[in-house]
Symmetry: C2
Subunit: 395 residues, 2 copies
């Protein structure tokens, strides 16, 4: 299908689709029929708004210059047709403006219920079963191959966890790994932080204390999206690692204790991270949903939680709900336990997969991890760019 006449309004690459067979104008919209029998409806205002021509979209920046609201909203057409090359052509009643739409782009943006549903990413929830099938990647392959890199990043996106093996035992190595994606998330703990027992610690993470299941930095408006922990030494007794899929626990809570789920997903809790130089606080629900009711993220870190600040008549019921949620996290059915070996990098979705470590005894040997964060936006952008290349390689 040669749609060279239909510009693409972005850098997307749209693979071949079944092709358009019919374009039938209706009142205020157009019904498109595809060669596979599928039907899409697009409203005139949506189509006019989406015109990709160089008068409407800046050809260099690929950003829109046309402003839909500079025109009255009675959009109508003088002509509609399918071009010989397969594009949809529409001529608008206003100024006889002509718009050409690439069929692959149209199909990718269909907003039928079925199409919207198919586009929604579904995290793959897991429990104890993950213990024996933790996704493993070789560090060198991620560094050398875009295919392996894409596989790892999709695993992080969908499973929320993967272990990288056979990494060099070099401090600062995480920077190279992060640069394969984009850049590190900067925090007051630095770009890369040492996780080891420190007598002047400004976080329980930097002691030898047991750390209960938590995510890092729920104290910030944006929790870091992904966390990488590089194990350099682990000779101390204790200090084993635990991971739990917080999305799986939240869905179990919703099924088994719906009242608790409702409270935890609607009542905000403040988390605090304070030291001599910083005082970060963030107040949000522990279970965050998006506008469509999908799980967005979990915010859990009992040792960073500030005093509850809720109406007095909700204090006891909130504690009750929180107790139900918190105790679920220690149930065997959800728990994955393992011991990091020097050369391992534990990589996980910090807003979904809660992590913990047992207390360790620093007198029995060294334990040194290095950690860093890469935000969700950076991982998702990198996946899309790698997928552009993947699609191009098929064409």
């Amino acid at each position: 299908m040669d749609c060279s006449l239909a510009p693409i309004p972005d850098y997307g690459v749209y693979p071949d689709t079944p092709g358009l067979t019919q374009a039938a104008p209706q009142a205020g919209s157009i019904a498109l029929t595809w060669a596979d029998g599928y039907v899409s409806e697009f409203h005139y205002i949506w189509l006019r708004d989406s015109c990709p021509c160089p008068a409407c979209v800046n050809a260099v920046t690929r950003e829109q210059t046309f402003e839909i609201f500079a025109h009255p909203d009675n959009f109508a057409i003088d002509d509609v047709s399918l071009t010989p090359s397969g594009a949809l052509s529409m001529v608008w009643n206003h100024e006889s403006h002509r718009s050409l739409y690439h069929p692959g782009w149209l199909r990718a943006h269909c907003y039928s219920e079925a199409a919207r549903c198919a586009r929604r990413l579904q995290p793959r929830a897991w429990g104890q079963d993950m213990q024996h099938r933790l996704p493993v990647f070789r560090f060198a392959e991620i560094m050398d191959s875009d295919t392996v890199l894409l596989h790892w990043l999709r695993t992080l996106r969908d499973d929320g966890v993967a272990v990288l093996r056979e990494t060099p035992l070099e401090k600062g190595l995480l920077r190279q790994l992060a640069q394969r994606i984009s850049f590190l998330r900067r925090t007051n703990f630095g770009d890369i932080f040492d996780v080891q027992s420190d007598p002047d610690a400004n976080s329980n993470a930097f002691t030898s204390l047991r750390l209960p299941l938590h995510c890092d930095l729920p104290t910030r408006e944006l929790q870091p999206g992904f966390q990488f922990l590089h194990c350099l030494e682990n000779r101390a007794s204790g200090g084993d690692s635990i991971l739990v899929d917080g999305f799986r626990v939240a869905r179990s809570l919703q099924d088994e204790k719906p009242a608790a789920f409702r409270l935890l997903s609607t009542r905000p809790v403040e988390f605090r991270n304070r030291d001599r130089h910083y005082d970060y606080r963030c107040k949000m629900p522990m279970i965050r949903l998006d506008e469509e009711g999908n799980l967005r993220e979990i915010r859990l870190a009992n040792f960073l939680r500030g005093p509850l600040d809720l109406p007095a008549n909700q204090i006891e019921s909130f504690y009750h709900a929180y107790r139900e949620f918190y105790q679920m996290f220690s149930e065997d059915r959800f728990l994955v336990r393992f011991r990091l070996q020097p050369g391992d990098i534990e990589t996980f979705d910090n807003g979904r997969v809660m992590h913990a470590r047992d207390a360790f005894d620093p007198s029995t040997g060294e334990r040194l991890l290095q950690g860093c964060y890469v935000d969700r936006d950076e991982v998702q952008s990198r996946i899309r760019i790698l997928e552009r290349e993947e699609v191009r390689s098929w064409l």
Copy 2:
């Protein structure tokens, strides 16, 4: 009041309060009466959870080690009293654990409706009236005086806008300014970006095009909190600056077009920022509210908006609501218009105050701004640290 016996569980400094006169146990809670007649109720579970003693809170990290859910939730007391130094003392029925609470800390954490309401920060909304009273600060004073720095940051927090004057005409100066707060927000555009006409622009910002009212980077999960624009040269004709308080517009929309407000605050819209190397997308409502219905942020940038992806029967009503909101932004009653002079830094809340510029003619002279972002967390943390010092200086 000497409360040295009552440790503070954080680095907060709590100024003198009226003092406690009575502690009356009730069923499951305690009623505290203060010297000014004010009454606070605290639940036992809340108090036990908030015990600041070194066995419950790590004395170095100031993070909690006590876990409330490791205990059954039938908290009760054997004894309650006010100590001679003014602290609240409670002895728990479990293990005779004794907790001491600083009265200033208790008063600051009271969760009565009145106390919660008084603690809520209220942005000061503005319209056209701001034109002749834009808050102005001298750059050198912000760099030299913590008092002026705090005044500027509170202005940014509450008014969302301030202009800094008499700044050196040096590229990279914004880094010094950001370091007075904390650190810069890194993005794919760099730490500091040049805003000038570029033939290979990857954003309409880097052309000479008119930019309609917008915020920067609604394409990210976390929009940058604050934006600083440093004017180095402005000799081109055109290019004047416009600012509008998006919170004021949103509140007007809520009053005047409640149905539009409801749609815009609940239906997500995707924003996209794509170039050859990045593909960022973020789908959130244009008007974001917190769990208590307060305005959290505005996301508006028509030229970055992706095609609407809503159920088909909502497309036309959403465009209608969006048109009402969008057109409000060009009403004179909301508009502040000015021209940046070399040496000015325009500083504003990127999630609240929408900014725009007129088209300019690069053939008539140079126009060069530099921009950067500092996130909300960093500004708020810095305000709290400066306020700690301020309170200490009173004591």
